[in-house]
Amino acid sequence: MIKYICKRVISLLPVLIVVSMLVFLVVHLMPGDPARIIAGEMATEEDVERIRTAYGLDLPLYRQYFNYMRGVLKGDLGTSTRTHRAVSEELAIRFPKTFQLALWATFVAAVLGVGIGILSSSMRYSVLDNVVSFLALLGLATPPFYLGLMCILFFCVNLGWLPISSDVARIALILPVASVSARSLAVIARMTRSSMLEVLGQDYIMMAKAQGFSNRKVVFGCALKNAMTTVITTIGLQFGVLLGGAVVTEKVFGWPGIGDYLVTAIKARDFMVVQSTVLVIALSYVIVNLIVDLLYALINPKIKLS
């Protein structure tokens, strides 16, 4: 197992390098001269040139990339060209917030989604199954930020149950997590249902049933573990969707994550902020998926052999 983990971690390195290169390249295709943006509207040609050399923007692109990556490895994510504050400082406060939201949402979507999927598959074509299928379709069609707005309208305004602004109150985590996770919950529930149904149709399940096993034993003892393999991969991929969903939905709840920061940077063409923020998010996504892959190997020993 340890050997497998090492192998996976090492195979991750080239991906991370290429991802960082892509982000760097794409951002450097941005129109506009970064040196001029940093210097501001009023700067003279001389000032712009001085800034260009000071920031190393006159170097060839590959040198700039190496300089940037050297900084990243030391924890220096560059300086915002707009506010002149270190990006790492800002991200240290904001990124955990977004990550927390996405992680909670993944957790909720995974637990409820798998649970509902199992229930729905074991009562195929029942009223419950139909209701679940319908709700899942509805959930799939709802943009997370719209769901967030509706949650605020219903729970905070109409019922007055929860506080609108999400400053310290822990209970306020409920609405953001609920609205971010809904779509993924639907995806995971559907996935679990169909993959459970596929497994339940196999011969060995028929065999177990024919021998008089209770339904519960068949579902949890034989089918679940085999059905979970596809579901776990889906959960890993959903984490990315949820990160994106969290970034958009933050605005609805005034959640102090990276969403607002990134959007302002994109509008102001603050290239350092965009570059580093996207890099950090992609990194977290890749790492979460690595963890998911390892979990997958844990329950599916076949993987390790190949």
Binding site: M30, P31, P143, G240, G259
Partner: protein, 310 residues
């Protein structure tokens, strides 16, 4: 499997159920299962019609937007701000007095464009890449698929945001960005389907008859892998609309006064407490379209791809 067998051996309650006549029970189960299945497939057909119906209504609205919209979607009327539904303005007005119904109708046109164009971009670039990778294999395959993997190692929303940051904030750029994000999905599906088709006898026959690779790919492989790609396109259509609406909502997609649904939600959000109808109705309009598209996609998958039937 081994584990199952050991469970079976250790279980003492193995023969408990043989007391009554199993044939009768089995017969009943089969009968009720058949009935349920028939009802299910009948309902499926109804669901398909419903999904198709919803989508067609939206398409018609998009086509005839100029005739259907009672007011100008852009013209402001500050005397009639934030009116509630009913009266002269059927669905009320927004924060600068624009008729909500007219804006929604024109927004349908925009959303249809978003869906179509993003799919076209994804299909036109992704499918050939996937076809080439799957058909020729080897180093080319590895190169293309690694590149696609890199694109897939970003959350889609973030990749779209990254592209918009380069392209600039506008509706067209948002569409381009989301379309670019679609490329790896189409490439992946096209490749895996090509791999299953590649070894088929009819491909071999075509080759034996002297067909060139280009001809085999376009007239034999592509035709046979179209249905999974169509399913992917239908299911991604709604997804693209939601992603673009998200970009619009964040203010980095369609810019005001464009009546794009996401941007409209973003405006409505500021007046959520005094005029909730703007947000509520706009969101419902998005939901119904995506619901219709997903219903259609689900049924298409069942019809076109019997392998994946649940």
């Amino acid at each position: 499997m081994d584990e199952n067998n050991t469970i079976l051996k250790n279980d003492d309650s193995l023969y408990e159920r043989v007391e009554y006549d199993p044939a009768e029970e089995v017969g009943e189960i089969v009968k009720s299962n058949q009935l349920r299945r028939m009802w299910y497939s009948y309902r499926k057909r109804k669901v398909a019609v419903l999904g198709l119906g919803i989508v067609i209504v939206y398409i018609l609205i998009a086509i005839f937007a100029t005739y259907l919209a009672p007011f100008d979607p852009i013209k402001q009327d500050l005397g009639n701000m934030l009116q509630t539904p009913g009266g002269e303005h059927l669905l009320g007005t927004d924060e600068v007095g624009r008729d909500l119904l007219s804006r929604l109708i024109y927004g349908t046109r925009i959303s249809m464009r978003i869906g179509l164009q993003t799919i076209v971009i994804g299909f036109c670039f992704g499918t050939p890449l996937g076809l080439i990778a799957g058909y020729f294999g080897g180093k080319l395959d590895m190169l293309i698929m690694r590149a696609m993997d890199v694109l897939l190692s970003f959350p889609q929303m973030l990749l779209a945001m990254l592209f918009t940051s380069v392209l600039g904030t506008s509706l067209d750029n948002a569409i381009l960005a989301v379309g670019l994000c679609n490329i790896p999905r189409f490439a992946r599906t096209a490749r895996s389907e090509t791999l299953t088709v590649r070894g088929s006898e009819y491909i071999e026959a075509a080759r034996a008859l002297g067909a060139k690779n280009g001809r085999i790919i376009t007239s034999h492989v592509l035709i046979n892998i179209l249905s999974p790609l169509i399913i992917l396109a239908t299911l991604n259509f709604g997804n693209a609309i939601i992603t673009c609406a998200g970009l619009g909502f964040m203010g980095i997609g369609a810019q005001p006064p464009t009546p794009e649904w996401g941007a409209m939600l973003s405006n409505g959000r500021q007046y959520l407490l005094i005029a909730p109808h703007v947000t509520t109705i706009t969101g419902l309009v998005i939901m119904f379209l995506v619901l219709g598209l997903n219903l259609m996609g689900d049924v298409l998958r069942d019809v076109l791809d019997p392998k994946q039937k649940d």
